[in-house]
Amino acid sequence: MSYPALTLGAAPATLIVSGPWTTAQSASLERLVATSPSIDAQRRNVVIDISGVEHLDTMGAWLLERLMRGYQLQELKPTFVGVPERFRGLLEKIHDVNRRSPIEHVEKNRLTAALETVGHAAVDLYIDFRFFLTMLGAIGVSLAAAVLRPRSLRATSAIYHLYRVGWQAIPIVALITFLIGGIIAQQGIFHFRKFGADAYVVDMVGILVLREIGVLIVSIMVAGRSGSAYTAELGSMKMREEIDALRTMGLDPVEVLILPRIIALVFALPILTFIGSMAALYGGGLVAWIYGGMGAEIFIARLREAVSLTHFEVGIIKAPFMALVIGAVACSEGLRVKGSAESLGLQTTASVVKSIFLVIVLDGLFAVFFASIGM
């Protein structure tokens, strides 16, 4: 096997190029060209003899061209001699490339760049918010139309989605809330016991679960489980132009795709919240019995004293609103997916992050609201 070489010839200002000038030799070729012999600037003409080149591909041809341009920059006139016929076309082709000046990067001021980022973030936030409001509005309009013409409602689709986001979610929701209820009870008993107040753990578990934790945990889980699925489904439909196809058939994607999903979610979330809260209370009761030594009948009796229907109402009233926020965010993010697979992933992440954030913000607003009306 021969090696590529670039050497000074016997005659002055003559270079001899030989060997295989191919991709397989790329690393040594680059070194050869980078360390090409310097030619006395007095001589105008440089002769590059490439008759000894055995193989040549784009990589080798470009490096030869680069060698030539390097000498041209030194005000020399290089020429190839002994060009084998089979390489002529390639060399001519390569002679024309990389002629345009590369696109220059404009170096930005750090401060202005930082300010620009903040500005962009603010604008993005505004755009996000507008998308969300637009989606809420579109859902409202579509819902009004469905109320006026109940036959336009896609009941089958809604029930199918109810099955997916409601029924199929029950096991995991029940399991997680059961565990959380148990954990809260365990922590309560452990710390309350220090000042002999372990009986109050029932109040804590009851109120916390029914008012806040039940609906929050379930909403966050639904956002992660069903919200992301909505975004991914709508996003891939957007990518494959299915949504455009619907529009051209005179159908409204909000009515056909989004409204049934939102309705399913609005129905499913209160049910899941109820199931989740019960599972959490059950978990709390079980821990109180096994870990705290509190009998079931005492737990139930204390629970009856501690919680009222109001606590339960406060929790469950929030659920449909949470569902609406999750659904609207998931669907609007889904419709914002662009052509690439990467954008689908990006919007799905955004959907989950935003809906969880909004769920928690909404929960805070509800807390203020219920406190002010004395519930």
Binding site: T58, W62, G89, D96, V97, N98, R100, P102, I103, S340
Partner: protein
């Protein structure tokens, strides 16, 4: 015609490929000579893409022998297989550009992974390849999602050519392109094939490509190559399916308009 093993780029012997109960390719044999453009035609769902994917090693075969550049793919060591990877460039039907990388990064990717060269040279080579397929350096900064159909094919071809392969596989290179872009792409394939001395294996449905670019055409029917030779030979073939392929209304109107 007797062709010595040395001058064969790809040699497929008695290849059988199937999925489950179904046999897609049935003891198929086909030779691709060095430096030629071979077009492969066949029914939709008839196994053209399966043949291509089996040759490049994406689909396992049941029986038979595939030899690429004189190396039997079954007995090749991993290192040689890697080398075969360097021999072959593939242009997938949808381009299969990595959507998270820019066009330029897509072209650089195989080089960056396989070669030890400086970033400057990588940039220069990427621009060179892009210009060779008719894209501008500005296009290199774009993401695949921002490209038109024709540009996607060109960018994907540039990536297929990144490692200066000896064999290029093209899976329906002109499908989804308008006639002007398709004919430009045909010209591009011919020029590159001539300047770089490539062997091209092309699956296509485009009669114009078959006429203008291909040296030989192979027809795949019922899991076998039923006819292989210059396009004229296929047009005059007696095989039923090949006849109907080249003598249907569209093919006839094409020859009537004087091509």
């Amino acid at each position: 015609m007797l062709v010595s093993a040395q001058s064969l780029a790809i040699s497929v012997e008695n290849l059988t490929v199937g999925f489950g109960e179904k046999t897609v390719l049935d003891r198929l044999s086909l030779d691709v000579r060095r430096g030629e453009v071979l077009g492969l035609v066949g029914m939709s769902g008839g196994g053209k893409s399966v043949l291509l994917r089996t040759i490049i090693g994406l689909i396992p075969k049941r029986e038979g022998r595939i030899t690429i550049m004189g190396t039997d793919t079954d007995y090749a060591e991993t290192a040689t297989m890697h080398n075969i990877g360097g021999h072959c460039g593939v242009l997938f039907q949808q381009g299969a550009l990595f959507s998270s990388l820019t066009v330029q990064q897509n072209v650089q990717f195989p080089m960056r992974e396989n070669l030890e060269i400086s970033d400057t040279l990588l940039d220069e080579l990427a621009t060179a390849k892009l210009e060779m397929v008719g894209l501008s350096p500005a296009d290199g900064k774009k993401f695949p999602a921002e490209l038109s159909g024709g540009m996607t094919k060109r960018a994907a071809l540039a990536r297929a050519l990144a490692l200066d392969p000896e064999i290029v596989f093209l899976d329906e290179p002109t499908s989804g392109l308008d006639p002007i872009s398709a004919s430009d792409f045909d010209t591009l394939i011919s020029t590159l094939q001539q300047t770089l001395g490539l062997t091209v294996f092309m699956v296509t449905h485009d009669l114009d490509s078959l006429h203008t670019v291909c040296d030989r055409v192979a027809a795949l029917a019922d899991g076998k190559i039923v006819e292989v030779g210059p396009i004229v030979q296929l047009i005059n073939s007696q095989h039923l399916w090949v006849r109907s392929y080249f003598h249907n209304n569209r093919a006839e109107s094409r020859s009537a308009t004087g091509n």
